[in-house]
């Protein structure tokens, strides 16, 4: 995590979360969160029963505002805080300085296949993959794909590869939460898991007309 940026965002959304709890729209969750004993016990549990290992430090158990509100609302945040936080996330996206979004789809396929990165058994600082096939159908020749996310087969053929579409896909991989606050998809750029070049390569895999994803 890029701590600086996350911490700044965290302070703002704490206020947002308080508004949610005061609103009473999510009674069961609010009741649970309002009971201080389980809260304290839960924090104690996290502190005592996990320990840092490899690159996975205890700071990973601290929730940022997005994680917090999604946890507390079972991924159904009310519109107000949702829009505020999504705007924040969108503003935090670091767009390519050269203005280009399309990399090499062959390199993108490798990134999509590779599910390693950021676990306690991965070397800190080692290159991560996107693990995209874990959740998405992408190239037609790979039959071992997950179904947590939608199929991305033929994405470029269906939606085109306009500069706007390229920017949208880049942003989505960089920070899916900027578009859907409680998306299951990790924020691959925001978290530092993928580099700008890796994200460009994935954009090419999904949108380049020559990519197997988009062949007829």
């Amino acid at each position: 995590m890029r701590r600086g940026r996350c911490t700044a965002a965290r302070t703002r959304a704490l206020a947002v979360a308080l508004v949610v709890l005061g609103g009473g729209a999510l009674a069961p969750v609010a009741l649970q969160a309002a009971d201080p004993a389980p809260d304290a016990r839960f924090k104690q549990l996290l502190q005592q029963d996990f320990r840092p290992r490899g690159g996975a430090g205890m700071d990973r158990l601290e929730q940022d505002p997005v994680q917090k509100i999604c946890t507390e609302t079972h991924d159904r945040p009310p519109a107000g805080p949702r829009e505020a936080l999504q705007k924040e996330q969108l503003e935090a996206i670091r767009w390519p300085a050269d203005g280009h979004f399309l990399g090499d789809w062959r390199a993108g396929e490798k990134v999509a296949q590779d599910g390693r990165g950021m676990t306690w058994s991965d070397l800190p600082g080692a290159v991560s993959g996107g693990g995209c096939y874990g959740c998405h159908q992408i190239s037609p020749q790979e039959i071992a794909f997950g179904t947590i996310g939608p199929s991305l087969l033929q994405l470029g053929r269906k939606r085109g590869a306009s500069p706007q579409m390229q920017r949208y896909v880049y942003g989505h991989i960089y920070d899916a939460k900027a578009y859907n606050l409680c998306s299951t998809m990790p924020r691959f750029g925001f978290s530092g898991a993928l580099t700008e070049q890796q994200i460009k390569d994935l954009v090419a895999l999904l949108l380049d007309p020559d990519s197997p994803v988009n062949r007829p």
Partner: protein, 165 residues
């Protein structure tokens, strides 16, 4: 995971000789010495031929199963997709009578010949076992019945599993 499957040594004559003298007859020799097996159970032809072969044809020929033809009577059951190549279940059976040898091969493994079974009279031509598969390829079953060899094969797709880390 990365799957490494392969032969244990280059296909050289020394290795074969060592296997014949060692692993090949060692158990039977020992069992015979212990009185667990009658001497007649030890057959001279029982060697480890075929495990070093680098082609399906060579493996079959070395294992005494050359010249086979595909036959519908040979049933080879295996999953279409193996969730993990480290363990791929396979069942081979046939309605043919007089079967005395069955072999199972994995077309694209470093060691193509997986196992060879000798079936005395009274043992049914039905074997269930599990192979390793390094990649998507055909599994092949060879069955010898009345000195003729019959074959069956089936492609099994080997896939990547899990979170990939």
């Amino acid at each position: 995971m990365t799957l490494h499957t392969g032969s244990t040594a280059p296909a050289d004559a020394d290795r074969r000789a060592a296997l014949r003298a060692g692993g090949g007859l060692g158990l039977l020799g020992a069992l015979t010495a212990l009185g667990l097996l009658p001497p007649s159970a030890v057959r001279a032809e029982w060697t480890r031929a075929g495990f070093d072969a680098k082609s399906v044809a060579q493996a079959l020929s070395d294992a005494g199963l050359g010249g086979g033809v595909n036959a519908e009577q040979i049933q080879l059951e295996a999953p279409e997709i193996a969730e993990n190549g480290a363990v791929v279940p396979i069942r081979v059976f046939t309605s043919l009578a007089g079967v005395d040898r069955i072999a199972i091969l994995v077309e694209k493994n470093p060691t193509i010949l997986s196992s060879v079974f000798e079936l005395p009279d009274g043992t049914e031509p039905s074997i269930v076992t599990r192979v390793k598969m390094a990649e998507t390829c055909r599994l092949i079953a060879a069955v010898r019945s009345d000195a003729k060899v019959y074959l069956a094969s089936k492609e099994v797709k080997v896939t990547l599993g899990g979170c990939g880390g």
